[in-house]
Symmetry: C2
Subunit: 799 residues, 2 copies
């Protein structure tokens, strides 16, 4: 097994001593202890669940020091501390298993294999100073179950005696859990937002749930804007799902320019703010359990307040859902403005008693995945004061790329028929309070209809509706530091969302960090092999608590999980760089080759109706039949390279150039890039390693430990994919002519990736039309022909 | 959706008033309130997360009273309380959804459909007394998410003001969470057991972890004996897994009688007890987080201590693992003896300072599933003082029936190659403390070898080793009330384990309760449709706290989940009664019929080696091919009835009588009973409904909400199965002769069940030999012939 730690910061000996004294592992006298005495004392402080000398001796005797003796015996009988003994004991403290992970004869070898830090040392026997340093590094080292040793001790109660200090404590640049999370204050406020999104003549009041440490210190806030947070209308949303078993429609050619469909902000006339009737520090409403993100739970004990707001159109708030437009952004930043002291909030919706966030240090970070990360991105593009950083995970940067692609309606993977209106209804949790909903039912139906009209499923084109939901237009406004996380196998919020954001920030010279993992649409804060939580702690201690820990310099610009080797995370200077070399392959019958072919290959998109019906209900089987070149699925073309002589590392956007004709005046082309060859590959859903194993503090909420593990042997894996409407060859807002039978040159950019195909395997390309999981499924009798002579694929190669 | 509540006890009006005053919903003056005033006041007490009058009004206006108005408006404008308004509001309080679960025009209809209690009432308008009674029942009613309304309020903090009362509080016969679980005391003691299982010349010390309410009251204890609790050696255990790809061996005929293999207790000479050096009330060791059963977590806040002990051979304890023999039983009851004041425990393993459980009321219940429930059963058969009841879930009652069947080695489903020795090694967590293990390594290897020898995989016969692990021999000693829970689709610990225990108790006239569900090897304390946790609360409040709640009379003797209709749990007087009618079917080619046939049918058990290898690695595929009568799997015989004209309800043990010959002098017969017919049937693994939704107290540990849901349409389902060695026709300890080619009459009892086959489907029987999931797999060239004339199947029919 391998542990990957990026958040350990270089620390000199004097600083180590200072920090160890601060967290009470040593005192000034320790420097003159002999190593055996000191080691015993350090261990005593480690075994916090016992009081007596006998208890300690019993505990010491359960550890093995070396091949011959237990630790108590060793400490009793030796006057020098063998470094092998230190690391044998360390590995046991870190919960590694001598039957599985290491042997008592070679602990240093195991430390290296597992990638754990070994102290610099002069000889086989540790000096007192070396032991102090070794102990420092041990405390920062991850154990077998996803936590730094100091955090494991924290979950056992190590910092409980620190609770009454009422002050922050840092170790190796990261904030420690010295605030009792069970004493946290929970309060509800109603922020008066700068909008009237339900047009009721009053500014929208938006509920915010705050949970914050009980302390006299001013604290920063982790703010998660989650439209799901107050409940969802799953059944009602499901009823709105659009039928995707409809034909692709011909579009009349147009000469639309971007200017024609550009969204321009117009200033609406707003109602007057409420008259403030009084001022208070004390909230009148509280809550018992917020719907929390486990990473926020971890930070609460570390001196961070956490705020949740679901925004316009959600339970206990005013307004209507809009699915990502400017109104939702205004709703999102209202909370930040209040936290930074720049906006009014009230204790309830009636009395107009204003309540200040007088506990706030006016520094805010936004956290959360998917829609939550999307709103973080949206908020950042306003440049709102107080927002110091966003950690946007699996976030949308333009809603068109979520529900559309190149003039096609393209569903997020797993949700055929979903669209902006469906999501608006699903998150419209005001419906969950029937007494409230009763009064706004008709207006809500009108609002929903306007979203349905605006999203335009008929053409699938980019239009003003989508331009209003494209945050990448406003990257230049960003003042917050942007930390991005995305899964390279996320077919819900697809990788292009993060890639275009990342490239846009780079072009503007805005500093950012990027982590790409091999998973799908998931969180990564509970993994065994990767210190994500520590990384974010280092980052936030720096950004929100002004801890001078060099987070910006220590953390690499880009970290990407390897797709071949488990438990391997590599650092890079960049991703999908335009300086990458391009390698071209030409299409030959069944082959990807360096030679051109003059043949024309065809496939028909229509299936017998029984088979078609089956696939609509069994999309995984369809996907399997599609890419299995040995299956009797004929409605596609498969091209493969010879087995690769060297590893091929794809880094960025693969482009496909095809000369193609459709037998009708409508048509679409889909493509999947493949890795062919029998192998065990990483599962894209992490496996459960240990339920409830992780807790960020003593007697506090728990999280499951997970890890990406190798799946069963399989013959292929889809690397990336893309889709294009043959009537959107130029761009996604202008309709091109399409004459039946006529050949056109098209260019299709697939979703970006970073993917190593090991030598011996084959790179493959599957060209098809209907994508049962994503496109409309008209089962139309259309024959597509590809002229191979003008068809090729270009692969960006990582150097 | 339907809710099934069995634990609501009949309560008269005076008692309702008394209890409502006790839990502070009303006071004496409430009886003279008008219904509108009183309803408002009850709701105010319900909305505990707010303080002001405006907050309450805001909250009231979010509820809908009837088709026209919200609740605030209704209460303001009406002087009488319409029962429809009361139940419209109730359904909202219970979190049912008006878009999905009910309509505001007909709330009483929804209450009936969901199976919720409606108050007796005289007219459309509730009197004050009727409202009080209606509110009482509402508090006992389950909401949509698996909790009584009063328990939901508890999780929101309702009982926090009761924490300082330092006394028990009951509502509707069940103990309420009025003890702060976050203030619970955690301590470790070492019980001196009456054994020296590792033969080190000292009585074994066994670690017990106790977590108990901080209270001046004497409290009862829920004790969970879990060998897994201190960690397991998964990798080391895996290495011991036995090869099952070996041929079935011929056994020399014997005339063994039961007396020859009967296990008789011999009294071992034991070391002297430790000399007690002192006495204390204060433990010197504590712990931060026990490995807990979520049901125990729920009870902690309700005034129950919880004790966990892993027993002999586990981390921090002495002794060796034995997998279920008398030594393990002695180890298990040592904790109970200490809790009942009849045994010594020490604060640590060195100082011999005795510590009494002076907080204990000397009443103990054992809880837990699988091995944990097994040890509860084992403990009960000793009649140990203090053990008032056991809740044994999915428990083994005889270890032979776990690892063997009718003279065959039969693996628990999913674990081919596991045996008593493998389990001993897996649970031998002393290995996890290398300093301890170092000193006992050789002795442990000897101990393990003696288990391997005793279990005898060669013959698969019942012998002295297994007789020593058959708790059913000692049922007559039981003094505790026995509450049993088992899954009818549990192929790990199979249903015969509970059936033989249940019948044995019945024969002895020992009172018991039995719940059978449609799941596999799972817990059922977190379901949406079934009030298991309330049932156990009622039961334990009665058994351990002497609450006179008529638990014995209110709870039905047998509850069985329906296998056809979701969310349906039925009560019965008995299960698998010997008074059931028997229906016979005879075997004809492809058919089960009322007519005999004179044909002889044969099948060969051997597969081509590639197919054989594939099935060894893909057991689910093998099972599917085996039972799919349309597959080209020829190594079995399939018999089916005509489509049934009426529902057939199988209740108990199906028996198969066959005249069979083997072409060799070895052989085995396996049989599966089938339900053939296209249908959606219940999944045997419950589905996740809401993560972390359940909490038994405010700010306390959480559990996921689950429910059995319907799976995809399938053509068949296995109902039950069985296996027999043709050389164990008479019993499982005597080897019968078996001549190649000679016909023998055998009788095979399948695992007991309760299963409804709806009319129109077909009852099926599959006769085969090698069971890839359970038997040895020798891939031997053996042909089996069945003479249909003397072959039949007898089905016990539920009347």
């Amino acid at each position: 097994m391998k542990i990957n730690q990026f958040a350990t910061i270089p620390t000199n000996f004097d600083q180590q001593v200072k920090e160890l004294i601060n967290i009470r592992f040593i005192d000034e006298n320790s420097l003159s202890d002999n190593p055996i005495q000191l080691f015993r004392r350090l261990l005593q402080k480690t075994f916090i669940n016992m009081t007596g000398e006998s208890d300690l001796n019993e505990k010491l005797s359960t550890y093995q020091a070396n091949l011959e003796s237990d630790l108590k015996t060793y400490l009793d009988e030796n006057s020098e501390l063998d470094i092998n003994v230190f690391y044998n004991v360390s590995l046991q403290l870190l919960e590694f298993n001598p039957d599985v992970d290491f042997t008592f004869s070679k602990p240093l070898e195991a430390m290296k294999t597992i990638q754990l830090k070994i102290v610099d040392h002069q000889s086989q026997y540790l000096s007192t100073n070396e032991l102090i340093s070794a102990w420092y590094w041990l405390l920062t080292t991850h154990n077998k179950f996803g936590q730094m040793f100091i955090d494991k001790l924290a979950s056992q109660g190590y910092f409980v005696p620190f609770y009454n200090l009422d002050n922050y404590l840092y170790f190796n640049g990261k904030s420690m859990p010295v605030f009792d999370p069970n004493e946290a204050i929970r309060e509800i406020v109603y922020v008066e937002s700068n909008q009237d999104s339900d047009l009721d003549g009053k500014l929208d009041l938006l509920k915010v749930e705050i949970i914050r440490p009980k302390t006299s210190q001013k604290v920063p806030t982790l703010y998660t804007a989650s439209p799901y947070n107050q409940g969802t209308n799953d059944e009602t949303g499901d009823k709105l799902m659009h039928n995707v078993n409809i034909p692709l429609a011909h579009k009349e050619p147009t000469e639309t320019s971007y200017e024609d469909i550009e969204y321009k902000v117009t200033d609406a006339k707003l109602p007057a703010p409420r008259k403030i009737n009084g001022q208070t520090d004390i909230a009148t409403q509280t809550f018992s359990r917020e719907s929390s993100y486990t990473m926020n739970d971890y930070f609460l004990a570390r001196g961070f307040a956490v705020a949740y707001s679901a925004g316009i159109g959600t339970k206990d708030s005013d307004g209507f859902r809009t699915t990502g437009d400017k109104e939702e952004t205004i709703s999102t930043i209202a909370t930040i403005e209040w936290l930074a002291g720049n906006r009014v909030a009230f204790t309830n919706r009636t009395d107009n008693i204003a309540i200040e966030a007088n506990w706030s240090n006016h520094k805010v970070a936004m956290t959360g995945r998917s829609y939550l990360g999307t709103l973080a991105t949206a908020a950042a593009t306003t440049g709102v004061e107080g927002l110091e950083t966003i950690i946007s995970e699996a976030a949308i940067s333009s809603w068109y790329d979520y529900y559309r692609e190149n003039g096609l309606v393209i569903a997020p993977g797993g949700f055929p028929g979903e669209d902006a209106d469906v999501l608006a209804e699903e998150t419209f949790s005001r419906r969950l309070q029937p007494g409230d909903f009763l009064k706004i039912k008709n207006n809500w139906e009108n609002q929903l209809q306007s979203i349905t009209d605006g999203q335009d499923r008929l053409t699938g084109n980019y239009n003003e509706f989508w331009d209003a939901r494209n945050y990448r237009k406003d990257l230049k406004n960003i003042k917050a530091d942007v930390f991005m996380v995305h899964g390279l196998n996320d077919w819900n919020v697809k990788p292009t969302q993060v890639e275009k954001l990342y490239q846009g920030l780079n072009q503007l010279g805005i500093k950012s960090k990027l982590i790409l993992h091999q998973g799908e649409h998931i969180y990564i804060n509970n993994f065994q092999s990767f210190d994500y939580t520590d990384i974010i702690n280092l980052w936030l201690s720096n950004k929100l608590l002004e801890q001078q820990n060099n987070a910006q310099e220590v953390l690499p610009p880009v970290i990407i999980q390897d797709n071949v080797k488990p438990e391997t995370w590599n650092k890079f200077d960049s991703w999908a760089s335009d300086k990458n070399e391009i390698k071209n392959f030409y299409l030959q019958p069944d082959k990807l080759s360096s030679e051109k072919s003059s043949e024309v290959l065809s496939f028909n998109d229509q299936l017998p109706s029984e088979k078609f019906d089956f696939y609509t209900k069994n999309i995984a089987t369809w996907q399997n039949d599609l890419i299995n070149s040995g299956s009797n699925y004929n409605n596609r073309l498969v091209f493969k390279t010879d087995p690769l002589k060297e590893d091929l590392v794809i880094d960025g956007n693969v482009n496909i150039s095809l000369e193609v004709s459709s037998s009708e005046n409508v048509g679409l082309i889909s493509a999947q890039l493949m890795d062919y060859g029998e192998a065990r590959r990483l599962n894209i859903t992490p496996s459960l390693i240990a339920k409830n194993r992780l807790s960020g503090a003593y007697n506090w909420r728990e999280d499951d430990l997970r890890e990406f593990t190798l799946g069963k042997t399989a013959k292929y894996k889809m690397i990336t994919k893309g889709h294009i409407n043959l009537q959107n060859r130029k761009n996604s807002f202008k309709n091109d002519e399409l004459n039946a039978g006529k050949r056109y040159q098209i260019s299709l950019q697939l979703q970006p990736t970073m993917y190593r195909i090991p030598k011996g395997r084959q790179l493959g390309l599957v060209i098809y039309a209907t994508d049962f999981g994503m496109t409309v499924r008209g089962n139309q009798d259309i024959t597509y022909s590809i002229s191979l002579n003008n068809s090729s694929i270009s692969i960006p190669i990582h150097k």
